[in-house]
Symmetry: C2
Subunit: 460 residues, 2 copies
């Protein structure tokens, strides 16, 4: 079997060419939020796939196109679907960039450009891994599919529609993706799911109009006070949510996942100092990472009523608006949590206006699957250090399309350095991380082909 | 003694001249908020006083000038200080006026112009009352002083400074003023004081910056939730304020005042329907007007934190701002209430930023004074109907300068029709109300001169 040393040497030998391939992608603008260069980038990604030996096509969605690539191996019995995105965040403010965001430049061992880490440098690693193995004469006995979308930075609005429409085309045994930065300790991260999300807007009213607080102050209800009383009824003093049914579907960590939680490095004092907080919110019986991964949140994204600007406005405000946000954990659904919240509010204030703004399902893959373990092993070997293994990230995203819509295991990792500054000026990926990412993907492809782990669902 | 009938006939005989005198004032812009025509109007008011037989001068303040007028009577043993204001609200939106705001016009028995009711048509009534009595050969044996300021619509910012600087000049035995609209029933209002006011800005913080609600949601405190918990600790379920010491200095109504409260016409269902509210706020043991006059309020003028605009912002907001407003009742002071609020907040959130934005003392004159009763009588006689007598108005203003700074009884009434639309387009005063106001002031001056009630402090 192909050794990691052989893979490393081949990547080193091709280093200049691989970097130039990345540079060509980075030079192409692809700002989905601004509709700037996105289609051109899709064509370029497809071209790149083809050049590297992977059949590819640009496929329409209701928004920006998806690039689909495919490699079939005559001996393959399993298929890996690789996900990534070619669109990037807006680069503003331009002034804050040392070198222009779409003119990639290497400084101090890092490649600086918008999209270097998020996500061009990471999805390209998988493609180059395949090329590396072919060069070694060791193409893995695996079918590979590439799904590189162009709307991730704009909420992946049309990914669900695309996946449902092309279910057969993208059929696979598992999903793999690399996105995001490594742990601050420098160790890569492997994670197995995301929290879901539910955003709810609540409008509560006192009188039917703002009133002079002198002429009416005392007997007339104030919309903000009603909102304060309503919100306060939703949490106890320690931050437990009091909404009936809110925790009903919460699965909680398995014993294995609890072990992973306990192993995540955590410097409580450093976190408190960095955020300038004196205490942690939420039930004291749960740890930091348990709250972040296995406790649904009831966050207040915003509140607004009356006037708090310069000067003054002596009114009894009529209306108060609050934007509630729940991060959902396995096995909650946005629908059932919304109904619980709505019931809680309407029981207290029947005429409150309660609207679901947005819902995303949580997603989780078992970290005990052979495929999951293979990822942890490959990434660890490529980077020379054990990854930080997280059952879930606290954030949300379209991963449920893979886990729930397609019913596939989906495992994520991070190939970019911790200080990649994704979404910020001077985004970068270190040359070393870029090359190690290629090695990690090649290692994984080789191991999966050899082990047959992709189809193995035994939770041992 | 001069009869009301004699007074009425003289006012009727002079009606055209008096209306033209008012029109001249109304044609002169005097928008203090926009600095438009204010000094010119001061000169015109002084001219008007002089023409009508009252010594006058324009006196500087740190802002717009005060017009001071004075009449001495050789037999007078008492002095009445009459307060009013010659500045007006901005007239915007101009388009909404049927006739231009500074081109007075009579339509359907009403004089339409900015300032017609608020306050040119009302302060002029006192001046014309003196002229009427002189014409009748019945100048009252009373010294009269006129203090007509030019900043009332901008918060009377410099009235306190003026009064403290010219204490001897304005020395008097009591204060009289007419401002505001009559009761919706068409009866004039007589009132004896105002609530005070305290505005407090509170800033509460979670972490030191807004944080990604996915990456940090759960363990990290949210500034809005902290504010909600803080605010909710300030009130019980029925709206009683729980801040220690908040009610300490509250005097409550006297038996006489309670009698007045009970006599104020109140249609509970009409008020609820008009405001579209299902219940009244505040302790159920207190009535509507008791809450409006003798209960301090803890109003929320505004609250703001995070983001509630279009789109979404998935953050844990760092900061939340609330603007608290207390309407204060006799004998509370802004200072002591501020200290109670500050203590309450800092006990719970030591690093909350608590700032007093503004403070105004409450003010009250006994409605049992002979002077107070004389006003009720004169106004009732002039308008042919018993006034609605209110111990206090719920609103706030500089009246404490007279009652507390100068230690004088101060009684207020309303000469403008209930639908005067002060502060709004098409402001007006009915010709009838304007003339009855003159009669009421003349009646009062005559009665005060005859009775010596101004110096009589016996509360019987």
């Amino acid at each position: 079997m192909t050794t990691s040393e052989q893979i490393r040497q081949t990547v080193e030998r091709n280093a200049d060419r691989y970097q130039e391939t990345l540079f060509r992608l980075l030079r192409q603008r692809s700002i989905s939020a601004q509709g700037d260069g996105v289609e051109e980038c899709a064509s370029l990604v497809a071209e790149t796939l083809t050049e590297l030996g992977i059949d590819s096509r640009v496929m329409a969605t209701a928004g920006f196109p998806v690039v689909f690539g495919e490699v079939r191996h005559p001996d393959a019995r399993e298929t890996l679907l690789i996900y990534g995105h070619y669109d990037v965040q807006p680069p503003e403010p331009y002034d804050a960039w040392v070198s222009p965001p779409f003119e990639p430049e290497v400084r101090n061992g890092r490649i600086y450009a918008r999209g270097a880490g998020d996500n061009k440098g990471q999805f390209l690693a998988h493609i180059l891994a395949y090329h590396t193995l072919v060069e070694l004469g060791a193409a893995p006995a695996l079918n590979m599919k590439f799904l590189i979308e162009g709307e991730e930075e704009s909420g992946s609005t049309n990914l669900g529609g695309f996946i449902r429409e092309h279910r057969n085309l993208i059929a696979a045994d598992a999903v793999y993706a690399a996105d995001g930065p490594m742990h601050p300790s420098g160790r890569p991260v492997v994670f197995f799911g995301l929290r879901g999300m539910l955003t709810v807007e609540v409008r509560v009213r006192g009188a039917n109009r703002d009133l002079h607080s002198g002429n009416f102050g005392g007997p007339v209800p104030n919309g903000i006070w009603r909102m304060v009383d309503l919100l306060q009824s939703m949490r106890d003093d320690e931050g437990r949510v009091l909404i009936d049914g809110f925790y009903d579907d919460v699965a909680g960590p398995t014993a294995f996942e609890q072990g992973l939680l306990d192993a995540i490095p955590f410097d409580e004092e450093a976190v408190k100092e960095n955020l300038a907080i004196a205490y942690f919110d939420g039930p004291p019986e749960a740890g930091y990472y348990e709250k972040l991964m296995f406790y649904p949140t009831l966050n207040l994204q915003g509140i607004g009523g009356g006037y708090v600007g310069p000067g003054k406005k002596s009114v009894i405000p009529s209306e108060c608006i609050a934007r509630l946000e729940c991060r959902l954990v396995p096995n909650q659904t946005p629908d059932s949590v919304f109904r619980a919240i709505e019931r809680h509010i309407h029981y207290r204030i029947p005429d409150a206006v309660v609207t679901a703004v947005e819902g995303t399902l949580p997603s989780k893959t078992s970290p005990e699957l052979p495929y999951s373990r293979a990822v942890v092993r490959s990434v660890g070997e490529a980077f020379g250090v054990d990854p930080v293994v997280m059952p879930l990230l606290g954030a949300s995203g379209p991963n449920f399309l893979f886990t729930d819509e397609l019913g596939l295991p989906a495992v994520w990792t991070t190939y970019a350095n911790a200080d990649e500054d994704n979404h910020a000026p001077n985004e970068n990926i270190s040359v070393d991380a870029f090359k190690r990412g290629i090695v990690a993907s090649a290692r994984l492809l080789t191991d999966l082909a050899a082990s047959g782990a992709l189809k193995d669902r035994g939770d041992t």
